[in-house]
């Protein structure tokens, strides 16, 4: 056979082979990125994501966008900059949400019996859509980091507001005022996670009253910008095709 000879015998077969590889690659990329992203996210922001009584106006709003913009930035660095595919962030978030929803239903509910309305995952999709759209429209990593990254941080709380608002209404219980989410936490006891390690509403910013969530979101947006830059370059490195020297 000639070295220049094709591996396929017709253009039709070439197209079929190419499409088949597309599906194999997408499936593999989706689930491998899902695995890496999910273990990263659950161990850097997971507790705020697991339980409604951790979904506060301070640390949840601050932490979740900062730790979750990482993989979208890295995957965008390959899917857009190499293939002009404008869905790097959305595909990451879809993967993460799939992994989380399967887990919350099958294990949080199915094995340890916490109701799903106590342990549903955060919604990260609005920020991801904006991140992809900004990159697609501007074709600029810098603008995506600054505008997209900022939007990613700022949109997190409003994107979750319709879901979490009903659980943030105040209730009076045994003479104490708390949120409905707090009350869920009291009733569904997590023996291995005592109350004293719950990190919510900490710090002096609470004296600002209603401003806690927007200020936290703004700080989160600022750090998200920086993290986007960093992880864009991580993504470029991970997408490399270098070989170590053969001995």
């Amino acid at each position: 056979m000639s070295a220049s000879q094709s591996a396929v015998r017709s253009r039709a077969e070439a197209v079929k082979v190419s499409r088949t590889f597309d599906w194999l690659i997408l499936f593999t990329l989706f689930f491998v990125v899902l695995g890496g992203y999910h273990i990263h996210y659950m161990l850097t922001g997971g507790d705020w994501d697991f339980w409604t009584d951790w979904k506060d106006r301070r640390l949840w709003v601050t932490v979740a966008p900062i730790v979750s913009i990482t993989f979208p930035a890295a995957v965008q660095a390959v899917l857009w900059w190499r293939y002009r595919l404008p869905f790097g962030a959305v595909v990451c978030i879809l993967g993460l949400l799939l992994g989380e929803w399967v887990n919350r239903y099958m294990n949080f509910w199915g094995w340890t019996y916490f109701p799903v309305n106590f342990c549903f995952p955060s919604n990260l999709m609005p920020g991801a859509i904006v991140l992809d759209v900004v990159l697609m429209l501007t074709n600029s990593m810098t603008i995506t980091a600054v505008i997209g990254g900022m939007a990613y941080g700022l949109l997190f709380y409003p994107g979750n507001w319709p879901v979490i608002a009903p659980l943030h209404v105040p209730v009076e219980y045994n003479g104490m005022m708390m949120t409905l989410a707090d009350l869920q936490g009291y009733h569904y006891v997590r023996t291995g996670t005592p109350e004293y390690i719950r990190m919510v509403e900490k710090g002096t910013l609470r004296t600002f009253g209603k401003d806690v969530a927007p200020v936290s979101a703004f700080f989160s947006a600022f750090v998200s910008i920086l993290i986007y830059f960093l992880w864009h370059f991580f993504g470029k490195w991970f997408g490399g095709t270098s070989f170590t020297q053969s001995s």
């Binding site: 088949t20 690659i25 593999t28 491998v32 890496g36 989380e100 887990n103 390690i197």
Partner: protein, 250 residues
């Protein structure tokens, strides 16, 4: 004419480029096996997995652990040994069509790796969170750890090692040295398993409660990033396959 007829017959009889049967059977192997594992957890987690000093814990969980250790070491030895032993010593002289067929087989392995990583890093790892936040641990070998750390992690290590070995022993694309990002994608997640040593040491030393975002767990995070190395594998594969398909048609 005779030669042409012979050639057509040979084409008709040759192995398909993508062996769909292997792909389906392999996928079913992971999905059905892990469905059974999840059923086992559901039944024996609560009934025999709460007290590690109880005799039923030894029966249903420690024996499970011992059996999986033996099976994993055997499987790794046999599978990796087979792939290495049957390696192609003339890999640079295979035909383009055979090379394409091997790329498909390589991707069959990578799809299995995707299943294995999903179950290990996503499904059973977050499941471990809810188990430990609910049940107070009294051993390193809790029911969720016996499945997560000592079953699902070794399985993705075995699968990842098989992918890498297959590529290295059968594909011309990977003969110029060791593919750095491929090694990261396989060795990084592998390092999560040794990191269990730190995790267990820390939990027995100072941290009985379950806070998932605790710094003690950041080793898992760092090595989880390595999964992104799959993007380098994808880029290498896309370039290699495009090169094969763009050659002159026969």
């Amino acid at each position: 004419m005779a030669a042409t007829t012979e050639s057509v017959r040979a084409d008709a009889a040759e192995a398909p480029l993508l062996n769909k049967k292997n792909m389906i059977l392999g996928s079913l192997l992971y999905v059905v096996f892990y469905a059974w594992v999840r059923w086992y957890e559901g039944i024996y987690g609560w009934s025999a997995g709460l007290d590690s000093f109880a005799p039923e814990f030894e029966t249903y969980w420690m024996n499970f652990l011992y059996i999986e250790f033996v099976l994993e070491v055997s499987t790794a030895g046999i599978l990796w040994g087979y792939i290495w032993k049957t390696r192609d010593r003339k890999v640079m002289s295979i035909t383009p069509r055979e090379e394409l067929r091997r790329h498909f087989t390589h991707w069959t392995w990578l799809v299995m790796y995707a299943f294995a990583i999903y179950y290990g890093a996503s499904y059973f790892t977050e499941q471990d969170g809810t188990w430990h936040q609910t049940i107070v641990r009294d051993t390193d070998f809790t029911p969720s750890h016996i499945i997560e750390f000592y079953l699902s992690y070794p399985i993705y290590i075995i699968t990842g090692g098989a992918c890498f070995l297959y590529a290295k022993t059968r594909l011309p694309t990977y003969q110029q040295g060791l593919h750095l990002q491929y090694m990261v994608a396989v060795v990084g997640p592998f390092m999560i398993l040794p990191n269990v040593g730190l995790n267990e040491w820390g939990h027995t030393f100072w941290f009985m409660e379950e806070l998932f975002v605790a710094p003690l767990h950041y080793g898992f995070v760092f090595f989880g990033w390595a999964a992104l190395g799959v993007m380098g594998v994808v880029n290498t594969e896309v370039a290699a396959i495009a090169k094969l398909l763009k050659k002159d048609l026969a």
